[in-house]
Amino acid sequence: MEMIWIVIGIVVIVGFMIINIYNQLVKYKIKVEEGASGIDVALVKRYDTITNLVECVKGYAKHETETLEKVIELRNSMSMKEKSNLENQYSETQTKLFAIAEAYPDLKASTNFEQLQKSIFDVEEHLQAARRLYNSNVSIFNQKVEMFPSNLIASIMKFSKFDFFEANENEKQNVNIQI
């Protein structure tokens, strides 16, 4: 009789452990998805500021801006790798625009351009924050998916690892845009 109670006790404890592990996996999966959504918001803002910058520079240097590649808008179907490439494209376009602006002192002195510069800086900081938060949550989730005993529950419930949002090469080298 005692054995039965011990077995029931062990089953209940193991049951609670499994539920707890499953809930943790779900919780961090949701946090990762929230983080991804934060990156999307930041990328949309980045797209908006880049297109505003293109318009602003175009007013002064139409010919040079015509040679730039069209700025791609964020799409819902993009993977994390594609979003990372998109961010690279935005950074490259931005660098080219600032390089073009160097030749036009009137443009650099304009209030609109100054305000865009400030807002670009702020948007970049928000994107950095979104990336770091996303990667932090991905790291925690991936650890749970890989480590014992949560990896057992993860493989049964078909939880798979997420990709990190990689920093672009320019940011890794700490490029400082001087105007």
Binding site: E125, A129, L133, S136
Partner: protein
Amino acid sequence: MNNKRVILEELEGYRKEALKWTTITIVTFAIGALLAITGFFFLVLVGIIPAIISGKKNKEFKMRYKNYFLASQFEEVFETPVNVDLSGYSESKIKNSYLIPEGNRFYSDDLISLEYKGVKINRGDVTIQTVTSTGKTTTTVTNFQGQYMVFSFPKNITEFMVIKENAFFGNKPGGMFSNCPKTSKVEFESIEFNKMFDVYASNEHEAFYLLTPQFMQVIMDFRKKNSHEVYFGFMNNEFHVAVNTGKNLFEPSILKSVTTSDSEFDKGHIYDLKDMIEQFRLMEE
């Protein structure tokens, strides 16, 4: 220079008056206590009148000393006008920051306000104690005594975040029935930073936006340079810094001549405050 000498002489006069009446009070109480042994207990009460006068004189000297010295020393370092409020911070301002330990006794004084290179600065002394009385005994525990600074910040702060030194049992701000914004603990990429500090924020994204790797390094360096417990808070577009030095700064002594006080005045804390603006990059870029 002549103006300073005149002011110092005037202050010295106030100091001597305060010292004179303090001496009279002590002597009167001492004589009264001696005579009380003979049975005339009421004679002790004779010391009350000089004590009241002495209290007023001391207060007046302290007020004039601080209004002159504090303002002029800060103005010398920052080269900008300074406002001195001897009553310090309001209790609600400090309490609603949920940054430093709470208590049932609050004292604050020497609130200095100025603006330097576009950064608004407020600095005051704060003491928070918990006094418990069992009837027979009264216990006073000082939970915080030090300097509390509030700066304007170059980034937009819409949420609430506090950074406290790592505590074994945790140090989440607010309690079950408090009005503190709901926060959750945030862990960052830096293992060293996570070991040194506990961060509680109402919005994780804003926590990462405000605490960049560079800013976290500055916070860690600041703590290593200070041998005292430090607290940081971000709220209402303000950056709060509290340092538990165990001291109330800038308190004058009636026993020391004003000229000596002037020459010995330690501007270290004022220069440290100025350095903080550069260290934490509080100026708009």
